[in-house]
């Protein structure tokens, strides 16, 4: 993850710890893409609010592939450049569902706690 700049404003520009896997799965659920494209897609989806550090991205991709949730293959890009493309497997799609659900539950729970006066 990229180091978050010292800021008094609490913009979630850093990927919340533990959610990167979920975000990658989400990004890949739309289409297969290479590593750089994943970072761009996540930044775009978050309207530039999130920055995915490459230091975390590639180990995470490796980890997800090891779990069998994503698969990879080398393909040519539009510019005829060789790149490694990742795609969601069926297990990955299932995992995305359960992970997203548990994330929502977690957020709701934190919200309940925070809204308690």
């Amino acid at each position: 993850m990229s180091p978050s700049p010292a800021s008094s404003q609490s913009t979630p520009n850093d990927v919340v710890r533990g959610t990167l896997d979920l975000l990658i799965l989400k990004a890949l659920s739309l289409e297969s893409m290479h590593g750089w494209a994943i970072t761009q897609r996540l930044e775009q989806l978050s309207r530039e609010a999130l920055q995915v550090g490459q230091g975390s991205l590639y180990p995470a991709l490796q980890r997800l592939e090891e779990k069998g949730w994503i698969d990879s293959e080398w393909r040519s890009t539009d510019q005829n450049r060789r790149a490694k493309y990742y795609e969601l497997t069926r297990a990955g799609r299932r995992a995305l569902g359960t992970e997203a659900e548990s994330w929502r539950r977690y957020v709701a729970m934190v919200d309940v706690i925070l809204s308690t006066s």
Partner: protein, 925 residues
């Protein structure tokens, strides 16, 4: 997961493992692509190519670290790097030869001790029967639950089981018959004969080397008597005669024809050398009567031991109902052939204490090696920090140090296992024979696969202790040190756990030689325990009657026993006469146990004038002392004192007239007079003997006979050399053979062993069934125990030497480390004018305290141990006369010596500390 995906995934995994370079190149390419895309993005935002590239790189961060992290996330990511770690580990062995030597030696010794213990315990506790389906071979017996003992007279039951048992097949039985084999006239030597059913050769099949094995037809009445001989008998007694088949040879008092020779090593059922058919028809088959037999068989296919037990229990209940008089309390039992009938009967010493000691030793050894490794790792702190800065994770550094320890452990394991195999082959067999007598055929001490696996496990544990623990310590807080870039600034310290390790090590080193001292005392005692006569001029042999003693209390059995006894006594009388007439024999006599062989122990009760014996007596010079009440007794022939030329000190010796069936006279030795009578006159006193505990023959039994002391003789090796204290002996006159097997002792002119063949020939002529074993010179009695004690002593000395070496190396490491950590501090102190004494005190205060505490603790343990061992007799402890000035001085001196040796290890680092130049110290940073 779909099969194709699964296959693809595994292909990728294996590729990452096998073609690491190619996969790494792909990762580089992927990351380069990422950078390129980022650069392009920056350029499209208006940056110059150089700016765009720099920005992209900045945003990306340390490429090498990302590569490392990504590689670490792979399956078995550590595996390819491990080979590098192993190479590095091997290099470290060469780079630090002292640590390699000391640590390796220690680990090798730990593995040696561990695997040796494991092998022996596995062999004794859970031996494998080297037979086809060995784990299904079983033994069966009858057990009298009321009398808590086995009932060997089980012939009737064996026959019944053979008829009806379905869960056990190939049921067979044997009688254990030690017999004389007489191949050439006059050469009668005992062999271990098994009268056995032919099924033995189905349970333990082996093609005979010559001829055939026993057949069921051989067991039929009227069949020609035959025998199968073992390889060793064939080699030694028949001079490997290839034409031995068909020869008729005398075994005991009958002749039989040799029909087969078994291959080398064949000794079923236990350690037998000759097999003859078991003819049941000729034996008494009444319930609980007749011959003693042992029963064996094999579990039927698919049957478990529990099922066989259940069926046997049913048969047992049936027998109880059928023969209530004999079988009411008998219970049939079944167990694996090499196992115990009582599954709960685990030997605590064998199962817990010895392995526990071995593991403790290993932990201690590894703890110390860990200390050395930590010191080595600490001196390499800078290197490790650089590695960390270059992207190595903590796990990688720990893996590296683990691999280094594993390399050292592997080399040590190889050395330790080689030593184990050597020791087992060289000493394992003799050691077991010395302790157990004849060795069952399934005991073959050598290194087994199980032990190698155990040693590998032990090596891993050792590598974890010696590698991972120091690695955890070295790498903890490394991030902080990395940020401070303060390698070598004293960030690492030997903490609490290391203090414990050092103290334990020093205490162990201090305490352990107490055991050596004790063993040394024992050995000296064995070597100096005199027989009291020139025992090297005497030949002894153990003589046993040919037939197994008839069991039972019915009149028939009693009469048979009496007849056997009379026959044995008369044979001995004849033997004595004939042997004594040999020109080289100066005298022949008999004793139940040889001098220094250990004699039967009794409690003695004196018939004092006052009628009651006071526990506190008065010695001849008037001091109060508790008289000894434990004595050793020997049954001897009337001629014993004359033949061993022992002078009678007062009173008289024995005469033939004393050999009445119930002798009422005894001769005591000087030890008895000094300790039981406290120097009073013995002759004329009455005494009686008692067993310890309760029941007939014990102190409470008032029907015990009184004996009159008729004489006093010098001390003649009563008791065993391993016994503590001075023995007190009582000699009871006995007709040779009336107490069962006896030792014939011959005073020989010339070499005693040279007359063995003549004695055998004479015995054979008188009664071929007489079994003469254990021919030895009387001074050789303690050879066996001396050999064992000597071996233990060597082992303990080696152990102590290793412990001492390790302690010194550990302490040296600590000292050396303390100095290297504080080089700058020492330099500044010296620059500021601190004197040498102060520097020494400040630097070595902690290690010297540790050594001091260790020595004090070890000294205390050793002292308490010696106190306990030397003061506790059998069942009682007394502190009187144990704490002597000389003992305390010895202990203190010993502790001082150990302290001195430990402090000696500090000399070099101390000198190095003082030689540090202030400028040099500052430059070191």
């Amino acid at each position: 997961m779909e099969p194709t995906r699964w296959i693809k995934r595994w292909r990728k995994r294996l590729r990452a493992l096998v073609r690491t370079d190619a996969v790494n190149r792909e990762l580089d390419e992927e990351l380069a692509f990422h950078l390129e895309m980022e650069t392009r993005k920056n350029m499209s935002a208006g940056m110059t190519p150089d700016e765009a590239k720099r920005e992209a790189k900045l945003a990306f961060g340390a490429v090498a670290k990302h590569q490392g992290d990504t590689r670490d996330a792979r399956w078995l990511a550590w595996f390819p790097d491990l080979s590098l770690d192993f190479k590095l580990g091997a290099r470290m062995l060469r780079k630090y030869p002292i640590i390699t030597l000391v640590g390796g030696l220690a680990m090798a010794f730990g593995i040696f001790a561990g695997s040796m213990t494991f092998e022996m315990i596995t062999m004794l506790q859970n031996p494998t029967l080297p037979l086809p389906d060995g784990d299904r071979v079983v033994k069966l017996r009858l057990y009298d639950v009321e009398e808590s003992r086995a009932e060997p007279r089980a012939l009737r039951d064996y026959l019944a089981w053979r008829q009806s048992l379905r869960t056990v097949t190939d049921l067979g039985a044997y009688r254990d018959l030690p017999r004389n084999l007489i191949v050439t006239a006059g050469d009668a030597r005992p062999v271990q004969v098994a009268e056995i059913t032919a099924s033995a050769f189905t349970i333990a099949p082996a093609p005979p080397m010559l001829g055939r094995t026993l057949r069921e037809t051989d067991e039929q009445p009227g069949a020609a008597p035959v025998m199968v001989i073992g390889h060793e008998v064939w080699r030694t007694r028949f001079a490997s005669d290839p034409g031995v088949i068909g020869r008729s040879v005398q075994v005991g008092d009958q002749y039989a024809t040799v029909v087969g020779v078994m291959p080398e090593g064949y000794a079923f059922p236990i350690s037998h050398e000759l097999w003859m058919p078991l003819r049941l028809q000729g034996l008494d088959q009444a319930p609980r009567a007749g011959a003693s037999i042992s029963i064996f068989g094999r579990l039927a296919p698919g049957v478990t031991l529990a099922e066989a037990k259940a069926e046997l229990a049913t048969l047992g209940r049936r027998a109880s109902a059928e023969f209530p008089n004999t079988h009411q309390h008998l219970q049939p039992e079944i167990a694996s052939y090499t196992g115990s009938f009582n599954a709960n009967n685990t030997d605590v010493i064998m199962a817990v204490i010895i392995p526990g000691f071995a593991v403790l030793l290993m932990i201690l050894v590894c703890g110390n090696v860990a200390l050395l490794m930590f010191a080595r790792a600490a001196t390499r702190e800078s290197e490790l920090i650089v590695r960390s800065a270059l992207g190595a994770s903590r796990g990688r550094i720990i893996a590296q140090l683990f691999a280094e320890a594993l390399v050292l452990g592997a080399v040590s394991a190889a050395v330790g296992l080689a030593a184990t195999d050597f020791a087992l082959r060289r000493w394992g067999g003799p050691f077991l024979v010395e302790n157990m007598g004849q060795l069952p055929f399934w005991y073959d001490p050598h290194l087994t696969v199980g032990t190698v696996v155990y040693a590998i496990g032990l090596t891993f544990v050792a590598a974890v202790i010696a590698g991972v623990l120091p690695a955890l310590k070295v790498t903890s807080g490394m991030g902080a040190r990395l940020r401070q870039a303060a390698a070598g600034a004293g960030g690492l310290k030997f903490g609490g756990i290391w203090t414990v390790v050092i103290i334990a090590q020093v205490a162990f080193t201090t305490a352990f030689p107490a055991l050596v001292y004790l063993e040394q005392l024992m050995l000296v005692r064995i070597q100096t325990f005199e027989a009291g006569f020139p025992s090297e001029q005497y030949l002894a042999t153990m003589i046993e009657p040919g037939d197994p003693i008839s069991l039972g209390s019915d009149p028939q059995a009693v009469a048979a026993r009496e007849a056997e006894g009379a026959r044995f006594q008369s044979a001995l009388a004849g033997l004595r006469q004939r042997v004594a007439s040999e020109p080289s024999i100066a005298g022949v006599t008999f004793i139940d146990r040889l001098p220094r062989e250990g004699h039967r122990e009794f409690l003695v009760e004196l018939d004092t004038v006052a009628g009651a014996q006071s526990r506190v007596g008065t010695t001849a010079n008037g001091t109060a002392k508790v008289p000894l009440d434990e004595i050793q007794a020997a049954h001897i022939d009337a001629s014993y004192f004359d033949v061993v030329q022992a002078p009678i000190l007062s009173g008289r010796g024995f005469t033939v007239a004393d050999l009445v069936p119930d002798p009422r006279v005894v001769v005591v030795d000087q030890g008895f007079v000094d300790q039981v009578l406290l120097g009073r006159n013995a002759v004329g006193l009455r005494m009686r003997l008692a067993y310890g505990g309760e029941g007939p023959g014990t102190m409470s039994d008032q029907t015990r006979p009184w004996y009159q002391i008729v004489g006093v003789v010098k001390e003649l090796g009563m008791g065993a050399p391993t016994q503590r204290g001075r023995p007190a002996g009582v000699y009871i006159p006995t007709v040779p053979g009336s107490q069962g097997p006896t030792n014939m002792v011959m005073h020989v002119r010339g070499d005693p062993l040279s007359i063995v063949p003549q004695v055998r020939a004479v015995a054979n002529a008188i009664d071929p069934t007489l079994r003469l074993t254990k021919f030895q010179r009387v001074d050789q009695v303690t050879d066996g125990i001396q050999w064992i004690m000597d071996m233990w002593l060597r082992l303990t000395v080696a152990l102590t030497a290793v412990a001492l070496l390790l302690s010194l190396a550990g302490i040296y490491a600590v000292m050396s480390f303390a100095v290297s950590r504080r080089t700058r501090e020492i330099g500044i102190r010296v620059a500021l004018g601190a004197n040498a004494r102060r520097v020494v005190v400040s630097i070595f205060k902690r290690p010297v305290t540790q050594v001091g505490v260790g020595v004090a603790l070890g000294g205390a343990i050793a002292g308490l141990f010696l106190l306990w061992v030397t003061s506790c007799g059998e069942g009682s402890c007394s502190s009187a006369g144990v704490v002597t000035v000389s003992r305390v001085v010895t202990l203190v001196l010993y502790s001082v010596v150990i302290l001195g040796i430990c402090l000696l290890a500090c000399v070099v680092p101390t000198r190095r500390a003082l030689a540090v130049e202030p400028v040099e110290a500052l430059r070191a940073e």
